[in-house]
Amino acid sequence: MAELKMVQSINLALARAMEEDARVLVLGEDVGVDGGVFRATEGLLGRFGADRVLDTPLAEAAIAGLSVGLAAQGFRPVAEIQFTGFIYPTIDQLANHASRLRTRTRGRLTCPMVLRSPAGGGIRAVEHHSESPEAMLAQIPGLRVVIPSSPLKAYGLLLAAIRDPDPVVFLEPTRLYRAFMEETPDDGAALPLDSCFIQREGSHVTLVAWGAMLRDALGAADLLAQEGTEAEVIDVATLKPLDEATILESVAKTGRCVIAHEAPLTAGFGAEIAARLAGRGLTSLLAPVERVTGYDTVMPLPRLEAAYLPGQDEIAAAARRTMSYK
């Protein structure tokens, strides 16, 4: 077993998937010779050849669109969109085609493709490189939206995404690529695409997060523990379809919930979770659901990035508010 960074575990999962299934192709801008701007596809070209690792022209809409064509023909394309800010031209293909080819043709044609893209802030990147568009994507019916929070999760969830018979958007938190290492055995074991992960058990308050914010939620749980508050931390790694049962069960136990995400507040995915709690979880709630999120503003350039991104202190403060709510 090896301790891996997340970018390495993603590389490992890609190689594993390509090894086990000749239909898997990797394509995108600079994924071949350069190995990807973050090096997630490093070494794949040498190992699998130019027929399976394709450096595409600079054309995001067409990368997504030709992946639809490849998938309909039985390939399993794993396309990389270099940065989140460049994902928007692909939304036409995702919303109009990838996500509905199966239903439009009553299952005659399907679209088993994965669209990978680095996402989120925290690495002092240039403009248009730090956004978190998960809620926008989660609104698209027929599309799975997955965000890993660690090297191990990235490995297992990416394998699951590639093996899945339907389209998956896989958003990789940029600031986790090299943030920490984790034992990640190359055992080919996939993780489920329809379950939340209970990351830490506790009985006083439920902290819900995904991607890079999970670490902040865990940090907040440590802070709260010092004060005698036991937080349960849930990783909603597979946002869509949502496993609401795990969240409802946790809040049935704790009665309190804080949802944290980097994306803007309004119509963020936290709103969906809060609405579900206000519906089926209402009688469990002992305090209003708190949301700790980015602002409804443009993501600032790096000098002000830290003032935009929520962190463990804000999550802990929100948890304290729910604890003291009368």
Partner: protein, 363 residues
């Protein structure tokens, strides 16, 4: 460096039915043109029936292909069965030639997804409503053919309006640089709803957009089924044998409204349209075949009778197909229905609303 290019224009059958200059090899025996004529008539009869069904409230909004039958039939007839068709939404004649049934087409335009579950050409794409967004799919299909080293190609039909979109620029560029087995046929009917080509682009031709991507590109008379067939067949064969992509701009004219929801009199006069009736694609073939002694009035009557009977029977069959079960809204969203959707499906099944019944046969 000076770059020069020329866009060739091909026509075999003039509007008056005369040959210019002679028939191409595939039609050396002029009888081979008869099935093309029959298919164009079939498309036109289908089209008229679809519009009639719409007029009586028994079909949804429909995009007529009146006057453009030669583009659809000429292109599809050049395909091999294993090639893949990626049509826009106005290529009924191409889909019918490929084996999509009139019932399936009516079912689709009548608001039922089963109309895109073709029992015939299983790999052909369904129609594409968001203009140009299917053009990158053709590049993907072609890449699949190339990676598997198969002697197959993708045929993508797009409209003149589509050529203004980035999707087309991106797709042509990739098809060119990767030498992919794909043929792009621009069905230039000269109108994108209300905007004529003259206000769509300052380029002299649409074909030259292919030249910019390094793709052999030419124009054909899109009302000449022989010219379309000849050009597309050559391009497809080159694609299948490693010669890369091609672009063919087929110049035709949209004689009908954009769709049944459109009123073209708002933006063009009848006087502008009527000269184009003299160039429409069916008459010239009929004239040619008649003068060649290959077609008689009796043949014509027989064809119309048979085709009308076929399409009428299809319409009756379509009208008799019950609406799908409500659960099918959910059943094809994912291969396996996620728990979250199981709950929503239960809700949908429990609703007391009446979903739209299939349009009833009028008594």
């Amino acid at each position: 460096m000076t770059v020069r290019f020329e866009i060739g224009f091909t026509r075999y059958l003039a509007p008056n039915g005369k040959l210019v200059p002679g028939l191409p090899p595939f039609a050396a025996d002029a009888k081979t043109i008869i099935p093309l004529y029959e298919a164009m008539v079939r498309a036109r009869v289908f089209d008229a029936k679809a519009v009639a069904l719409w007029r009586t409230g028994r079909l949804g909004t429909f995009a007529s292909s009146l006057g453009q039958e030669a583009v659809a039939v000429g292109a599809a007839s050049a395909m091999q069965e294993t090639d893949v068709l990626l049509p826009s939404f106005r290529e009924h004649g191409a889909q019918l030639w490929r084996g999509v049934t009139p019932v399936e087409l009516l079912l689709y335009w009548g608001g039922d997804e089963r109309g895109s579950d073709f029992k015939g050409p299983r790999q052909d794409f369904p129609v594409c409503v968001p203009v140009a967004s299917h053009v990158p799919h053709a590049v993907g299909v072609a890449l699949a053919c190339k990676l598997r080293r198969e002697r197959r190609a993708a045929l993508c039909i797009l409209g003149d309006g589509a050529t203004s979109k980035g999707d087309v620029a991106e797709a042509l560029n990739i098809a060119g640089v990767w030498r992919l087995p794909v043929v792009f046929v621009i069905n230039n009917n000269q109108w994108a709803i209300s905007v004529p080509v003259s206000r769509q682009t300052a380029a002299e031709t649409l074909a030259q957009k292919g030249i910019a991507a390094g793709i052999p590109s030419l124009q054909v008379d899109g009302n000449d089924v022989v010219a379309v067939r000849m050009a597309v067949a050559g391009a497809l064969e080159r694609a299948r044998t490693g010669g890369g992509a091609s672009l063919i701009e087929a110049i035709t004219y949209r004689l009908a409204d954009h769709t049944t929801a459109d009123d073209a009199s708002r933006y063009r006069d009848d006087a502008d349209v009527s000269p184009h009736w003299l160039e429409e694609p069916l008459i010239r073939v009929r004239t040619f075949l008649t003068e060649a002694g290959l077609w008689s009035k009796k043949d014509e009557e027989h064809l119309l009778q048979e085709t009308t009977a076929e399409i009428e029977a299809a319409a009756t069959a379509y009208l008799g197909i019950p609406t799908q079960n409500v659960s099918t809204i959910f059943d094809y969203t994912f291969e396996k229905l996620p728990e979250d959707l199981v709950t929503q499906r239960q809700h949908a099944l429990g609703r007391r609303v009446q979903s739209a019944a299939p349009p009833a046969v009028q008594s």
